[in-house]
């Protein structure tokens, strides 16, 4: 008999590393398999098939960016779940992360959905990471001012990429400059114990019963 699997489906490598380092720093045992999907489109397309291809006792978490519209992204995920016969999928993203059990007679897994950054705002993984910047950091205030002071004529990034620019700049200005997200968490340049990380970690623990 096969051992039930606990899988987190994510968009890409960054999500994968953030989750692994968060778990490592918050004492979640290394039992989660985090699967990257190269892009949000690819992940969305994969969801129905991935959920159908599970075995008894499997649990699947899905972590997606809300991007420009939390409402639209939620609707897309909800639509997939409803088509697979999950009932009681909430109409709106759950503040603490959604967790639902499958219909009794089906082989579908228990499933959880988290929309980055916090199931309440538009945005992405980088917005979630910005929440983990140590509070009242003068340096982060300087990062924000500096980025916002770039004259429009010199600004190469689009407005939607602002949070990416902030977090990468923040990490560029650390003692060990330019660490990737995951290792930056372990190095405490992003604080894994921050209360804003708690909600996410609690969601993972509850979903996977850890």
């Amino acid at each position: 008999m096969m051992v039930a699997r606990k899988v987190v489906l994510v968009e890409g490598k960054d999500d994968e590393h953030v989750i692994k380092h968060l778990c490592g720093n918050r004492g979640i045992p290394p039992v989660l398999k985090v699967e990257g999907h190269q892009s949000v489109e690819n992940l969305l397309e994969t969801i129905p098939v991935r959920l159908k291809a599970t075995y008894e006792g499997d649990i699947v978490g899905i972590v997606l960016d809300a991007d420009e519209s939390l409402i639209d992204r939620w609707a897309a995920v909800r639509n997939h779940l409803q088509r697979l016969a999950y009932s009681d999928v909430p109409a709106h993203a759950t503040k603490t992360g959604m967790i639902i059990d499958p219909p009794a007679e089906s082989l579908l897994p228990r499933v959880g959905v988290w929309l980055m950054p916090n199931n309440q705002l538009n945005g992405m993984l980088e917005d979630f990471l910005a929440l983990l910047v140590p509070e009242n950091s003068h340096l982060f205030a300087r990062v924000q001012r500096t980025v916002d002071d770039i004259p429009l004529s010199e600004q190469l990034f689009s407005a939607t990429a602002r949070s990416k620019v902030l977090i990468h700049t923040w990490l560029a200005w650390q003692k060990d400059p330019g660490l990737p997200f995951g290792t930056a968490i372990t190095a405490r340049f992003l604080d894994p114990l921050h209360t804003d990380a708690d909600t996410f970690v609690t969601w993972l623990r509850e979903l996977f019963r850890l």
Partner: protein
């Protein structure tokens, strides 16, 4: 506990989603198409307590871990396609060597507990006098919707006033010397047959029917076993049906998938001293015909598969453990050929596999051909086995993302 006198309660039959007339609830199938199954329901048959498969396609690959009933699904289709003929039931038992158990035992008609050679077909290998829920198999088939039931029962033989012998269902025999005979009650759609095990045992072809005799509505349904062509002798009859016809060309074309030098194939023997048949081939590299067997497992496996396929016109073909003998590099070509021929000859194909290579090859071929390839995964849920169907579009996602569906 003894069996009830009455044949098993009919009311359950009506709660069966495929009703006796074979009409499935609409939501079970996207469309009921012509000469094929679009849905199956199997109850209390071998390890399958209640399996439903919906949205079957023209070409279907059945996957699942060991002991999830893949072969049982093929067997259920064979039983359906033959209207539960006795020869099919005994062939199925013979294939799994389940007929030998009783061989030395004799037929214990005089003992309280009758031998029950068909026990293996029922769930949990029951004893005859136990409470045995009937096997029910239903297929939503475009032309031949079939719903059948097989259950053990006690029978007795009467003579009518006109002197005609008649078999009827009777009370369970509680003591030796009473005149009840153990038997099977087989109901196909509305037609019932009562068969004393004694006659089955003797290999008697007599079947006892109610006056409305079973109409013969069968369509070809050939089964290719898991053995990778260790014997070509049994294929003689199939060969004779297509020899010198246009279909012969397909066989050569199939063998070329593995060895491009093969230019012709035939079967010899069968008369005089040499009673068994042997497949022989001509190769451009060898001056005289040589036995097909010398070309290895792959060629022999494909010979068996394609020969059976071209003989299944307007019917169905069942292939157990497709990948046996076939190296993964030739599997996609083999599937292409199967998809093309299945469409051309109107054959519905069911194959089983546990190989991920076979799944990928299946998907590749499916995506290149008009006929839809459907994957049916069987998996355990508690004590039961359930199916998950992946349509061709989903299958593309499966292989693209290397999702495990074995």
């Amino acid at each position: 506990m003894t069996r009830s006198t009455r044949p098993h309660n009919e009311s359950r039959f009506s709660s069966f989603r495929i009703d006796p007339a074979g009409v499935l609830a609409k939501r079970d199938c996207e469309a009921v198409v012509g000469n094929r199954f679009c849905g199956l329901q199997i109850e209390q048959f071998r390890s399958l307590s209640d399996l439903r498969i919906e949205d079957l396609g023209p070409v279907n690959l059945i996957t699942g871990m060991n002991n999830t009933g893949k072969t049982s699904v093929l067997e259920a289709i064979r039983i359906l396609a033959s209207n539960a003929s006795l020869s099919t039931l005994s062939q199925i038992l013979r294939l799994r060597e389940e007929d030998v158990v009783e061989a030395d035992d004799g037929f214990r008609l005089n003992e309280a507990e009758p031998a029950f050679p068909y026990s293996n077909l029922f769930q949990g290998y029951p004893e005859f006098s136990g409470e045995i829920p009937p096997i029910r198999i239903a297929g939503n088939h475009g032309d031949f919707p079939t719903s059948l039931m097989i259950e053990p029962c006690w029978l007795s033989e009467l003579r009518t006033d006109e002197g005609v012998r008649k078999i009827t269902v009777t009370a369970p025999r509680l003591f030796e010397g009473e005149d009840g005979m153990p038997g099977l009650r087989i109901k196909v759609n509305e037609t019932e047959r009562l068969l004393p095990l004694e006659y089955l045992r003797r290999g008697s072809s007599r079947s006892y029917r109610r006056p409305d005799a079973v109409e013969d509505r069968r369509f070809p349904c050939l089964y290719v076993g898991p053995g990778s062509g260790d014997r070509t002798a049994g294929l003689g009859l199939l060969w004779d049906r297509i020899a010198l016809s246009d279909l012969e060309g397909h066989i050569v074309k199939a063998l070329k998938i593995i060895d491009d030098n093969i230019s012709a194939v035939s079967m010899v023997g069968g008369e005089g001293a040499r009673s068994s048949r042997t497949a022989i081939v001509r190769s451009t590299r060898i001056p005289r015909p040589v036995p097909l067997k010398s070309f290895g497992d792959g060629v022999n496996r494909l010979f068996g598969i394609i020969l059976s396929l071209v003989n299944s016109k307007d019917g169905c073909l069942l292939i157990d453990e497709f990948e046996n003998g076939l190296h993964h590099t030739v599997q996609a070509d083999a599937w292409r050929m199967i998809f093309q021929l299945a469409t051309a000859l109107n054959v519905q194909v069911f194959a089983t596999t546990h190989s991920m290579d076979a799944v990928e090859a299946f998907q590749t071929a499916a995506s290149e051909t008009p006929a839809e390839g459907v994957l049916v995964r069987l998996a355990r849920k508690g004590q039961t086995i359930v199916s998950t169907v992946f349509r061709e579009a989903e299958l593309a996602v499966v292989t693209r993302n290397q999702i495990e569906v074995r």
